[in-house]
Assembly symmetry: C2
Homo-oligomer: 134 residues x 2
Amino acid sequence: MATLLTIGDAAKASGLSAKMIRHYEQSGLLRKSARTDAGYRLYNSEQINQLRFIRQARNLGFSLSDIHALLELWQNPERESRAVKQLAQQHLAEIAAKIAELQHMQQVLTALADSCKGDGSPHCNILNQLAKPD
Amino acid sequence: MATLLTIGDAAKASGLSAKMIRHYEQSGLLRKSARTDAGYRLYNSEQINQLRFIRQARNLGFSLSDIHALLELWQNPERESRAVKQLAQQHLAEIAAKIAELQHMQQVLTALADSCKGDGSPHCNILNQLAKPD
DNA sequence: TATTGACCTTCCCACCATGGCAAGGTTTAG
DNA sequence: CTAAACCTTGCCATGGTGGGAAGGTCAATA
């Protein structure tokens, strides 16, 4: 027997917000769900699994378009794991690039902050450096 | 004698886009510039310095509202460097948090990708893991 | 049974920082 | 004089998420 959940319960079960579940449907990431006579969305356990899949992929930072691709691969028994791994590696490259960018900011800004006394006087190397031409 | 630049030249001189300079004016980050009779914006060297300041702060990842505060501190001779340093340190904390988040994703996803053969077969641990309840 | 509170629906708006395009005016070089 | 390269404003889009309004539905309780 299939347990059907309304969107609020599906949200609780998946860790997504009801708002986002509607949005994912709207944007084509999810197929339209069944509805009650009154128009309430209903989700079966397979769909709850899909929602959880989406949440976990979001937690890993995948974009919705990546997730779209991942969902299709997941549901395709003919998939080649090569394709999945490639998506993961592309995403890992983006993550690494972002980390590098942030670490660069961190390094520069830490040095600047270290050279700013942070007291009651107006002199501050952070401002001086920002004002300087490169 | 003051050299006045039109927005395109100001963009080149500062490293910002003309689009963004207009946007910064619109959003109140910059005071309205002078205009020619024809309505073209004109920027003097002090304003060019301000634009550079903004670009460098953006490069360090400061938000526009942080930059707003930084600009005011910069222009206020009564400032206390404490205030500047505090902004910098808050931002450093955000940077560190983002780096930590990304590194966590990196770690989890690297492990998953390593356990996916990436060949022609459908089996893939990445998908299995995403599908699993936490 | 009538009401109340907790759901649900759709629709629109906001964030942040940036880019693109369109329709029109201006300036400059050939 | 014309053409190219500027400039102007205004609107739309991105991505992922949240907020709120106005209205319908359902279940429990008084």
